[in-house]
Every structure is written in C-alpha cells, then in structure tokens.
Symmetry: C6
Amino acid sequence: DFMHALEEVKPAFGVNEEELTSSIQNGIINYSPHIKSVLDEGSLYTEQVRNSEHTPLVSVLLHGPAGAGKTALAAKIGLASGFPFIKLISPESMVGYSEASKVATISKIFEDAYKSPLNVVVVDNIERLVDWVPIGPRFSNSVLQTLMVLMRKQPPKGRRLLILATTTERSVLQQMDILDTFDAQIGVPNVSNANELGLILEQAEIFGPETRSDMGRQRIQRILSAVQDQTRSTDIGVGVKKILLNVETAKQDEALDERFVELMSRAVNDRIV
Amino acid sequence: DFMHALEEVKPAFGVNEEELTSSIQNGIINYSPHIKSVLDEGSLYTEQVRNSEHTPLVSVLLHGPAGAGKTALAAKIGLASGFPFIKLISPESMVGYSEASKVATISKIFEDAYKSPLNVVVVDNIERLVDWVPIGPRFSNSVLQTLMVLMRKQPPKGRRLLILATTTERSVLQQMDILDTFDAQIGVPNVSNANELGLILEQAEIFGPETRSDMGRQRIQRILSAVQDQTRSTDIGVGVKKILLNVETAKQDEALDERFVELMSRAVNDRIV
Amino acid sequence: DFMHALEEVKPAFGVNEEELTSSIQNGIINYSPHIKSVLDEGSLYTEQVRNSEHTPLVSVLLHGPAGAGKTALAAKIGLASGFPFIKLISPESMVGYSEASKVATISKIFEDAYKSPLNVVVVDNIERLVDWVPIGPRFSNSVLQTLMVLMRKQPPKGRRLLILATTTERSVLQQMDILDTFDAQIGVPNVSNANELGLILEQAEIFGPETRSDMGRQRIQRILSAVQDQTRSTDIGVGVKKILLNVETAKQDEALDERFVELMSRAVNDRIV
Amino acid sequence: DFMHALEEVKPAFGVNEEELTSSIQNGIINYSPHIKSVLDEGSLYTEQVRNSEHTPLVSVLLHGPAGAGKTALAAKIGLASGFPFIKLISPESMVGYSEASKVATISKIFEDAYKSPLNVVVVDNIERLVDWVPIGPRFSNSVLQTLMVLMRKQPPKGRRLLILATTTERSVLQQMDILDTFDAQIGVPNVSNANELGLILEQAEIFGPETRSDMGRQRIQRILSAVQDQTRSTDIGVGVKKILLNVETAKQDEALDERFVELMSRAVNDRIV
Amino acid sequence: DFMHALEEVKPAFGVNEEELTSSIQNGIINYSPHIKSVLDEGSLYTEQVRNSEHTPLVSVLLHGPAGAGKTALAAKIGLASGFPFIKLISPESMVGYSEASKVATISKIFEDAYKSPLNVVVVDNIERLVDWVPIGPRFSNSVLQTLMVLMRKQPPKGRRLLILATTTERSVLQQMDILDTFDAQIGVPNVSNANELGLILEQAEIFGPETRSDMGRQRIQRILSAVQDQTRSTDIGVGVKKILLNVETAKQDEALDERFVELMSRAVNDRIV
Amino acid sequence: DFMHALEEVKPAFGVNEEELTSSIQNGIINYSPHIKSVLDEGSLYTEQVRNSEHTPLVSVLLHGPAGAGKTALAAKIGLASGFPFIKLISPESMVGYSEASKVATISKIFEDAYKSPLNVVVVDNIERLVDWVPIGPRFSNSVLQTLMVLMRKQPPKGRRLLILATTTERSVLQQMDILDTFDAQIGVPNVSNANELGLILEQAEIFGPETRSDMGRQRIQRILSAVQDQTRSTDIGVGVKKILLNVETAKQDEALDERFVELMSRAVNDRIV
Ligand SMILES: Nc1ncnc2c1ncn2[C@@H]1O[C@H](COP(=O)(O)OP(=O)(O)OP(=O)(O)O)[C@@H](O)[C@H]1O
Ligand SMILES: Nc1ncnc2c1ncn2[C@@H]1O[C@H](COP(=O)(O)OP(=O)(O)OP(=O)(O)O)[C@@H](O)[C@H]1O
Ligand SMILES: Nc1ncnc2c1ncn2[C@@H]1O[C@H](COP(=O)(O)OP(=O)(O)OP(=O)(O)O)[C@@H](O)[C@H]1O
Ligand SMILES: Nc1ncnc2c1ncn2[C@@H]1O[C@H](COP(=O)(O)OP(=O)(O)OP(=O)(O)O)[C@@H](O)[C@H]1O
Ligand SMILES: Nc1ncnc2c1ncn2[C@@H]1O[C@H](COP(=O)(O)OP(=O)(O)OP(=O)(O)O)[C@@H](O)[C@H]1O
Ligand SMILES: Nc1ncnc2c1ncn2[C@@H]1O[C@H](COP(=O)(O)OP(=O)(O)OP(=O)(O)O)[C@@H](O)[C@H]1O
Ligand SMILES: [Mg+2]
Ligand SMILES: [Mg+2]
Ligand SMILES: [Mg+2]
Ligand SMILES: [Mg+2]
Ligand SMILES: [Mg+2]
Ligand SMILES: [Mg+2]
C-alpha cells in the first residue's frame, strides 16, 4: 500500500522530519523506472557526503514541471540518508516574512547545519523563496544572493552537508547564473504515458481495495482508452500530483469513471505542448 | 422573488458571513443554464474538501469580465457549503493598508482558517488585492507572493480548506505564473443575448410587480427589440451587474423604457468586441 | 448676472461647500445647450442615489480638456443635490502630503461620508491626486489603488453616496484600468465656435454693464470677426476658463479689443488640432 | 551706467529682495528691443494681478537658453511690481535638502505669500528644483507635483499672487505636462548678432570709461569683425551671461582684444546650431 | 603529495591566514606550465609592493571560468608573500549582511590594512560581493563603488598594499568600468586537454597510493581514451575544481572508472563551446 | 629633479594642502608643451577670480583619459594660486558614506569656502563622486544635483571661489547636462608619441642617476625602438600614470629593459583606438 510507503524512511531521531514527512503524504508510487533512478542518484551523493574527505559539501538540484513530484522525492532522499539533522527551507514556513527576516532565517538554518557532523538541508521551491514573478521580472535579490553564497559555502572542518534544492523554473535559475552553484542536477519528468497512468490508478486504489482485482484492472483500461479517445493522443504529460488530485475529485462524483476521464482529459489538453 | 434568494444559504453560525451576504445583495438570477452549472461545480469541490482525506486543500478560481457576477457566485458557493468558518479577503476591507499590513492581515485570516475542521476563504478580486495597474506594470509583489504561497499551503492535520478566488484579469494572473496555483478554474461569462436579458428584466421586476403580467412581458419584448435595433446586433455582452444598475437608473426617469434602451444600447456598444 | 449664479445652489447646511462654491467663482455661463444637458444628466444620477434601494453608490466621471469647466460643473451638480454632506477631495488641499497621508486623508473623507444618509464626494483632478507625470511614467500607485477601491466600495446599510470625479487625462485613466470603476461618464467639451464665444463675452460683460447694449454686441461681433481673420478658422477649441482669463488680461490694456483678439488668437492657434 | 540699473527697482520695503537684487548684479543691458518688450509684457501681468477681481493668480514662464538672462529679467519684473512681499524659490537656497524638506520649504513660501494682499513668487530654474537629469530620466516627482499644484492653487479671498518661473528646459516641462499650468509664456532669446554684441561691449565698458569714446567704438568694431572672421558667421547665438563672463576673463590678459575674440569665437562655435 | 602543498606557504604569524589556507584545501596541482607562470607574475607584483617607493599600492585581478582555481591561486600568492597582515574579503563571510554592513566591513578591512607596513587583501568573487545577477541586471552599487574607490586609494605614507581580486565575470566588470581600476590582470584558464587531466588524476591519486604505479598510469590512460571516445573531442575545457569533485563522486561507486568517465564526459559536454 | 617639483607650490598656510600635495607625489614631468599651456590657462582663471569684481566664481573642468594626469594638474593649479584656503572633494575621502552624508560633506566644504576672501575647491573624479556605473546606468542623483547647484552658486559678497573639477567621463557629464555648469573646459591628453615617452623615462630616471648619461639616453632609445617594433606603431596613447607604474614594475625585474618593453607594449595594445 503506497500510503504507508514513508514509514520506512523515518530516521531514529532528528529535526524537522515532520515537515518533510508531510511532503510525501501520498507516498512515492513506483510508476516508472525513472523514479528508482532518481532515488539511486540521490543515494550516491548522500554517500559522497558521508564518506569523502575532500567534498564535505554536495548540492543537488531537482528540477521539473509543476507537480511532477520534486518535493516528495527530495524529502525521500533526505529522510533516507539517515543523517541526524535534517532541515527544510520552504516558502510556506516564511509567509509574510520581510526580505531581511527571510535572509536571517535561511542563514540560521545553515548555521545550525554546521553544528552536526552529517546534515541535510532541503531548499524547496527556490523561485518562490526568492519571490520570483516573471512580470518585471521581480525577485528578492538579497534572498537569492544569500542562497547562492550559502549553497557553496564550505562547512567548517569536520562538518558535512548535503543540499537538496527543487525548482520548476530551471531556465530562470540559469538566467540568474545560479545553476553553476550546484554540483549535480536531476530532472523529474511528468507522467508520460497511459501505461504509467494506469500504474498510478492501480496503486492509488482509485476504486478502493477492489482496484487490484481483474475487474478493477479492466475498468482502468477503459478509463485509459477513454482519455486517449478524448485527447486524441497517447501522451499524458501531467504531473503525478495533479493525477492524484483528480482521483480524489472524481471520487466525489457518483459517475466516478466519467468524471475522472473528463478531469484528466482537461488536464492533458491544458498542458503546454 | 430573487431579492430573497440568499436567505437560503445563511449558515447556522459562522464568521464574516455578513460581508459575503452583502455581496449577493441583488440575489442570483437564474437567467441561463450556465449559472446552475457554476454552482454545481462549486458544490463538487465543496464536497471534496469535506470528504477526501488526501485533498484537505482545494483552490478554485472564478474568472470573467467586470460585473459578470463572480463575487456573488463565489459568495453563494461559500455560504452554501455550510462550513462553520467562512472568511472574506477583499480589497475593500484593506483600504489604505501598507503592504506589510495587507500581508499580515491575509496571513492572519489563513491562520484562523487552520483552526476549524472545515473552512472557506474567499479571496476576492486578486488583481486589486495585489494593487495591479497595467502602466509599468506595477503591483505589490509581497502581497502576490503571500497569496501564491498561502493558496497552496497544506492546512495542518485534520483541517480542511476551500479557497474561492475571483479575478477579471486572468491573463495577468497567467503572466504572473499564479494560475498553476489553482486546482480548478471556472469561467463566469457576460449576459450574452436578448433572451437572457429578458429573463433578467422579468425577474428583476423592472416595472414592479406588474412585470410578470402579459403586458409586462410585451413591454420587455419591445425593449429587447429596441436595443437590437439601436445596436444592430443580437448580442448583448454586458455583465448582469451593469444591467441591474441600468434598471435602477432608468427607474428614475419618467420615460423608463426609452431611458433603459438608451443606457443598455450604450453599454452594448461600449463592450470590447 | 452670471456672477451670482451660484447662490441658488447653496444647501441649507453642510460641510466643505465653501471649497466647492469657490470652484464656481466665475459662475456657470449658459453658452451652449450642452451645459444644460450635463447638469441634467448629473441630476438624474443624484436622484438615483436619493431614491433607488439597489444602488446606494453611483460614481460619475466628468472628463474633458484643460479649463473646459469640469470642476465648476461637478461642484454645481454636487451643490444642487442638496445632500447634507458634501466633501471635496482635491490636490490643492493635500499639497506636500506624503503618499501615506494622502491615502489616510482620502480614506477619512470616505469614512465620514458613510455616516450621513445622503452624501456627495467630489474627487477633483484624479491625475494630479495620483501624482501623474507622463515621463516614466510615474504616479502614486497607493493613492490610485485607494481611489479605485473606495470609488467602488458599497456604503454601509442605509447610507448613500454620489461620487463626482474629474479628469483631463481620460486615456491615462483607461490605461490604468480605472474607467470600469465608474458607473457613468460625461464629456465636457471646449467652447467650440464664435457663436458660443460671443455668448460668453456678452454674459461675462467684457465691456462692463454696457456690454449688453447694441453697441456692445456690435463690438463683440467685430472681435469675433477679427479672431476669425487672424486664426483663419471659425473654430475656437479653447476652454471657458482660458477665455475668461483672457478677458481679464485684456481689461488691463487700454486697447482692450485688440489685446483680447491677440490673446484669443494665440490661444486658438496653440490648441492641439 | 548699467551697473546701477537696479537701484530704480528696489521696493520701499519687502522680503527677500536682496536675493533678487543679486540676480541682477550685472544690470540689465538694453541691447535689443526684445528686452523692453519682455519687461512690458511682465508689467501687463503685474497690473492684472493688481487690478482684476477675477484673476487673483497669474503665472508666467520665462524660458530660453542657458545664460540668456531669464533669472535677471524675472527678478527685474518682480522688483518693478513694487508688491510688498517678494519671495524667491531657487535651487541654490535648498542645497542638500531632502525631497520632503524641499516640498515643505516651497509650501511654506507659498503659504506666506497668501498672507499679504499683493505678492510675487519667483520660481527660478524649475528643472533644477525638481532635480532633473536626462539620464534615466530622473527627477523628484514630489517636488514637481507640489509645484504643479501650488502654481495653480487660487490664493484665499483678498490675496493676489504673481508667479514668475524660469527654465532652460521648456520641452522637458512640456513632456511633464506642466506647461498648461502657466497662464502665459515669454521667450528670452540669446544675443543674436554682432550689432547686439557691440551694444553689450559698449555698455559693459569693456575698455573701462574710454569704451564710449570714438576710439573705443572703433576697437569694438575691430573685435566684431575678428569674431565674424574666425567664426565665418554673422550670427552670435550666445547668452549675455557668457558674454559678460568672457569680458571679465579677457580683462586678465594683456592682449585683451585678442583674448576676447578667441573666447567669444570658441563660444560661438560651441553653440548648438 | 599535493595534499601537503600548502604547508610551505604559511607565514610565521599573521591574520586570517586560516581562511586563505582553507581555500587551498586540495593543494595546487602542477598540471600545466601556466600554473607556475601565474604564481611567478604574482610574485613580481609582491616584490614591487615590497620594494618600490613610488607604488605603495598594486592591484591585480585573477579572472577565469568557474572552478578554474582563481581563489586557490590568489590565496597561494597572498600567503607566499610572507607579508605580516593578510586579509580575505569574501561573500561567504558576509552572508545576510545589509548593503551598509557590507560597505562598513569592507572599509574596516582596508583601514586595518593601512596600519601595517606590508599588507595583502584578497577580494574574492567580486561579482558575488556586489550581489550581481544578470536579470535586471541588478547589483549593489554602494558595494561596487566602495570597492572601486578602495582598490585605488593610496595607503598612507609608509604603508604598502597588494590587492588580489578574483572574478568569473570579467566582461561584467568591464561594463561596470571597474577593469581600469586594476594595475594588472592575470587569466586563469580551465584544464584544456587530456594530458593535463591525466596529470591531475595522477597527482590527486584517484586510485589511492597505487595510482602512481605503472598499472595506475595505464588505468588513467584508459579513462582518458574513454572520455575522448564519449565526447568525440580531445578538448576538456573543465575547471580543476569540478574534476577533483568528480574524482570524489566516482570514488563512492564500485565501478569507479566507468562512473568517472560518465561524470567527466557529462561535464565536458556541458561546457559552453 | 622632478621628485621635488612640488615644493615650489606649497602655500604659506592653508587647509588640506597635504591631500593635494600627495596627488602630485610623482611630480609634474614637463614632457610636452601642452603641460605648460594647461598650467597657463589655469593661471589665467586664477587671476580672474583674484581680480575681477564681476566674476567672483569661476569653474573649470579638466577632462581626459584615465591616468592622463588630471588630478595632479588640478592640484598643481590649485596650490600655485596661493589662495589661503584650498579644499579637496574626493571619493577617497568619503568611502562608505551614505548619499545624505556625501551631500552634507560636500555642502559643508563649500560653506567653509564662503568664509575666506579667496578659495579653491578641487572636485576630483566627478563620476566617482556621483557613484556612476554605466550598467543601468546608475548614479546618485542627489550628489549630482548638489554639485550642479553648488558649482554655479555665487559666493556671498566679498568672497571668491575657483572650482577645479576632474573627470574621465566627459560624455557622461554631457548627457547629464552638467557641462554647461562649467565656465571653461581644459583637455588633458595621454602621452602621445615615443618622443614624449623618452622624456618621461629620462626625467623619471628609470635607470637611476645614470639615466641622464649618454649611455642612459641610448638605452632609452633602444627601449623606444623595441616598443615601436612590438606595437607596430609610433603612437603611444597611454597615460603618464601608467607609464610611471610600469617603470616601477620593471625595476623589480633583473631584465629591466625587456620587462618595461613588454609592459609598455601591452599597455599600448590595450588602449582603445
Ligand atoms: N513517484 C512519485 N514521485 C513523486 N511524488 C509522488 C510519487 N508518487 C506519488 N507521489 C505523490 O505525489 C505528490 C507529488 O507532489 P510534490 O509536491 O512532491 O510535487 P512537486 O513537483 O514538488 O510540485 P510543485 O511543482 O507544486 O512544487 C506527493 O503527494 C507525493 O506523495
Ligand atoms: N446569476 C447571477 N450571477 C451573479 N450575480 C448575479 C446574478 N443574478 C444577479 N446577480 C447580482 O449581480 C451582481 C453581480 O455583481 P458582482 O459584484 O458579483 O459581479 P463581479 O463579477 O464580482 O463584478 P466585479 O468585476 O466588479 O468584481 C450582484 O449584485 C448579484 O446579486
Ligand atoms: N458653462 C460653464 N461651465 C463651466 N465653467 C464655467 C462655465 N461658465 C463659466 N465658467 C467658469 O469657468 C471656469 C471653469 O474652470 P474650471 O476650473 O471648472 O475648469 P476645469 O475644466 O476644471 O479646469 P482644469 O482642467 O484646469 O481643472 C470657472 O471659473 C467657472 O466659474
Ligand atoms: N538685457 C539683459 N537681460 C538679462 N540679463 C542681463 C541683461 N543685460 C545684462 N544682464 C546680466 O546678464 C546676466 C544674466 O544672467 P542670468 O543668470 O539672469 O541668466 P539665466 O538665463 O538665468 O542663466 P541660467 O540659464 O544659467 O539660469 C546677469 O548677470 C544680468 O545682470
Ligand atoms: N593548479 C591549481 N590551481 C588552482 N587550484 C587547484 C590547482 N590544483 C588543485 N587545485 C584545487 O582546486 C580547487 C580550485 O578551486 P577554487 O575555489 O580555487 O576555484 P575558483 O576558480 O575560485 O572557483 P569559483 O569560480 O567557484 O570561485 C581548490 O580546491 C584547489 O585546492
Ligand atoms: N606632466 C604631468 N602631468 C600630470 N601628472 C604627471 C605629470 N608628470 C608626472 N605626473 C605624475 O603622474 C601621475 C598622474 O596621475 P593622476 O592621478 O594625476 O592622473 P589622473 O588623470 O587623475 O588619473 P585618474 O584618471 O586615475 O584619476 C601623478 O603621480 C603625477 O605626479
Ligand atoms: Mg514542490
Ligand atoms: Mg467582484
Ligand atoms: Mg478642474
Ligand atoms: Mg537663471
Ligand atoms: Mg573562487
Ligand atoms: Mg584623478
């Protein structure tokens, strides 16, 4: 049951893991081999921080479209490290802060991260942290500069730090010259085809426990065909987050299957091709 | 009588419902099947928030031209939910506030909304809340960022929240990358043709109680013909709000019918085709 | 005598009417049928506010070229309403105020206007109130947003409000998306031809009491011909305000007629065709 | 002797006339009929303020190239009025003031001007008062708006005010929409030809008292010819201020005539044709 | 062993040398004759500061691509001078500072540097010190101006100062007109070919102590060939810093050689040609 | 010996002359007739301030490429005046000042200059004083406006003031409309040819006392030929400041002549043709 998927990653003790845990509230569904490869690459960098004397700091950027699962995957990698101190820097926790307060809060979190031997900091949604808006364009340069410097600042002797950042605006970050700051970049794609969509519907138990029966699987096949008919395409190109939301909306309707097909087709057609 | 249409939606107890009630001061006239479909879709999302464990937060945007009835419909959906706590965030309630005060007020309202099990927050007139003006263009980025984050922030465990937002500037919101923030979008169109206009005049009792008599209906037909003659078009393309205003202005004139035809024709011609 | 024209509009008691009264210090000269039609339309909206239950707020914009008489006509409509509370919001009364003080002052005036049953607020010279300058362009967005919201904010139950605003920069207001804010718009044109100019010279008694004699009228005719000769046009296209100023300047010169012709011709030629 | 030209304009008593007096420290040389006509037109507006009941406020703009004599002529008109209160608003008196202090100082001067029956305010060098710089462009909008409003604000009953403003940047003022603010505009041109230049050299007594002898006049003729030779032009196009400065520089040199010809030719060639 | 390369440059006593020392934590690998020539030119300017009476201030800019080794080389030159006071100005040490604090801190460091007879100040990463971001573009002009003035300000009599600055954004500095500020400029290039890469792998002991054996050298040759195969190029164009990082990442993988080839090829392909 | 060239200009008593003295620390080498002509023209304006009653204020701008010697020449003219009070306004003395402090400091210096009968103020490096940077472009408008006004403000009766300003950015000053502010402008060119370069090397005693021997002169000739060979040009186009710096750098090298040729050729090639 994917709903319990995250029990396995809770560290023995730690800080802030509740926040991270809630980022994976709908689990990690294994709908494509890509998911495992993202988690594996994450694990490689985790080990580098743990073991290599010469690289006490490694920073990794997870980038991809809205709702692709970036935050959930970053949280999972972070929790899986088992490092004793894990901190989350997210726009949600700094609502209404002034620029100066944001800068101070971010600095404080990094300073705390310099006190334990092994640390993870998840910097979620960079474009929102820096108040990015394409009209203008405008953003908080002081928050941006703080992040740029802190994400490259070597921890003091004997301290190690893994930074996991997420963004939907990779090209904006490129224009900001901040991509160089990262030691590695990992792409997180949308759900791409009907096959993957079917796996999600099955594991999300769209029809409850009966979903995994033959009947359930046939019903799913009919849904997939209907979506393909309505969108005249075999591509999906929608994030797992939106798909799970549509599952829940459809469940409110007596005509669950039809409603899901409608919502899903709308989402597919809305995607920017 | 449409003037009493809103009694039915008053919740047993609650907060701020007066404000919302006054937004529907002229009731909801059922002049087109679209009205019901908007309310039905609103009700679907209300149920999702009430029932689904996986989606404690659903945000919906009502968008459409000025005076189309967006605020009234959002208020009606909100009041119809029967959720115990209902809050309105509107530019009118924050006149003369500094940016920081606006941010604080908005944050406070959301925080309050995290305390009850079931909550509705109506975010009215987003472009005005963010002080949007197309020259420049200028707007308050701090208010915008606050809204962007709060409209996606998951409520704490056990709390649920329905967000109903309105705007006349959907394309501006798109440029601001804020449309992604919404789980669903509902369009609210103008009154489109003479038939709908006739239904409004009848239900708004333009000639008082006698409107609904045969005589009244014929008089309305003559008005509709006259408007069509003067505008050389069968389209109306004017919001219900402006139409009801014109009804009131015309009532001040002894030559009610002629005055209404004049005001209405002017409005039709002013619309941007 | 047009100099006493305004006695008739003083309300029995009230607030601020002195300010408004001084705006009509040179009276309202009835030089064209358009003048009456502007005042009549103003009166229609006044009655709507007084009588209609559904429209406790009506806002009207008077727009036209510099010196066309917008402020005087708005003042006259306001004073003629006989509403007990009349307030004027003008740039002259807020010289040297900070943006915040302006916003506070404007808000206060509207709040006061919510306390009486029947109220008029004249918002004079919007472009100046918002510190508009076309280079940049620059303006005070906080004052603008305050006006936009307050001019649409419904008064509390049982209170009614007529808003009369003036501007020379209608196209700027359009770019600012503020025109939608008004329920109605009334154009105030320049003095357009020699005939209207003649009526003004007569009623303004350019030659003193003898102006209205046959001799006076002939002398006016000669002036009109001379202006036509010098400008090679029968059009005038100058505001009543400038014409009355030129009358006064000419009076300082012994060669009154020639000086007036010269000043008037210069004004006609300066107009933007 | 033009050095004593200004004794005749000192009012019996007054305020600030010292500042104005020092603006004419080199007198007003009568080198062209245009000078008298500027002073005459100034006198006409002075009389209008003194006499006309309907125009208690008249504002006049003197505009022209740098060093043409604008400030000196405005000062002369102001002092010649004999009005008891005369105030000068100049950038030199507000060096290092913040925007707010400038606004306050300017407002205070106008307020003082509302206390006497007859007043003159000279607003010198508007573009400098508003901190204008063409790169950007940048300027103080709050000072600009203050001036725009104050220069049109009617004095209280029984008070009269003549405003004399100067600028070298008339086209900038036009872009700022501030030209409409003035009731009249007077151009102040450069010294245009050798004849005018000769009159200035004579009256400025370039060779001391002997300048006015036949010998002196011949020497001047030779200078004029030499300038014409070196510049290959009969036009001068230089302001009287620069000419008087060159006279003084040349006086330091033993070869006075040659040095003056050199300086003057350089100035003529530097002018923008 | 390059890991101990920096012992030799520690001065007998001093200030801040720890910070500088940690900048060379991976030593200076002698992979190309260019490295020596950079250090030699640095030494020449060090001697000029020490000896010449006429040039108590010399400023040198080290510029080159990200990760080319600029900071390490500047630190090495500074430490090698043996000057008693060595200070580092770096963005990392001023995280979260306001513009004013940055300016104050920088000024203080220079003031301290005026107190000893012989001083080195390393100004690391100028573009980050001035909060440069290409979108806008934006930067702190007050920090920039402070640096521009301080880097040219003559020390007081008897004091000498060597300034070593680094940047990856030389063309930005040129646009800022700050390049003129430097007395000399030294370019620091990327690792350019397989030969240099091989020297680095050997000296960095990629396979531990056995790297320097014949076997080790052959294994390195196979890696170089594989990179050349995968990138279809004999050029490298990657900074020494990234190469050393990739060595460490590869060490976490059992398939060290393959992983290094993969990471290195990705880096080569990512470079901007 | 040019090293003692400045003893002769020290005034009997005064203020700030130390600062000015240190600006000429390497003396004024008489390498071209232009140097004398600049000093002579400076002396003419000094005399005008001293003698002419009508021009108590004269302002002169020295402009030219970086390192051409502007500051040294301004200092020399100022010190040579023998005026009792001499003040220097330079960016170096206001490092880290806020805009307001800069404005206050500059105002104070001018105020002090109004207290003595004869004064010199050197305004060094205007573009740096106003924090000019071409990206944006940005600058401090309040400092700029303060300078513009103060450089034209007449001193009080009986006080005289000579202003000597320097800049490398004459075209920027032109765009800022500040050039009109100056009564005169003097260009300071680069060292233009091998002949001038030779004179400098000789007087700067590049080989110590023996430079002036026949042997020394021949060695210089060989250097000049070598530079001409390497640059394939007879033009130099480098400032005297850079040349003197190169002399000092070369002195650190055993191969003095070769090193100087190399540095000099690089400088010649770097110049913008
Ligand atoms: N394979 C998966 N990868 C990521 N998330 C998954 C996966 N399977 C299920 N989920 C669930 O899908 C949701 C993904 O949402 P998440 O907030 O991580 O997306 P995101 O890309 O960060 O979105 P946004 O662009 O809005 O920040 C989470 O609720 C997560 O539990
Ligand atoms: N079917 C309807 N839908 C919406 N409003 C209706 C309807 N019938 C009558 N009304 C009345 O019309 C008015 C609609 O005004 P409302 O303020 O809701 O429009 P709006 O689109 O929010 O306008 P704005 O663009 O100015 O914000 C209300 O007074 C409402 O009572
Ligand atoms: N028919 C008229 N309409 C308006 N004003 C008139 C009329 N007859 C005479 N006047 C006088 O003309 C003047 C009009 O000036 P007013 O300030 O109202 O013009 P305005 O259009 O508001 O000017 P501005 O564009 O400068 O604000 C007033 O003094 C008024 O008394
Ligand atoms: N006919 C004249 N008109 C004006 N000024 C004259 C005349 N004759 C002599 N002067 C002298 O010439 C000088 C003119 O300078 P003034 O400062 O008035 O020029 P300006 O146009 O205001 O210059 P700026 O553009 O710098 O403000 C004064 O010293 C004045 O005494
Ligand atoms: N020859 C070398 N030159 C420079 N650094 C070297 C050399 N050999 C090994 N190194 C090591 O490589 C690293 C170079 O990193 P450094 O931070 O100096 O690069 P950088 O160009 O300043 O990078 P950035 O552009 O990120 O500021 C250091 O760890 C240094 O010890
Ligand atoms: N003939 C000369 N003219 C000017 N300076 C000379 C001359 N001969 C020698 N020098 C020396 O050359 C140096 C000129 O430097 P200075 O700072 O005056 O140049 P600058 O043009 O002001 O430079 P910058 O553009 O950097 O402000 C001084 O040290 C001065 O002593
Ligand atoms: Mg996310
Ligand atoms: Mg609304
Ligand atoms: Mg008006
Ligand atoms: Mg002037
Ligand atoms: Mg570096
Ligand atoms: Mg200089």
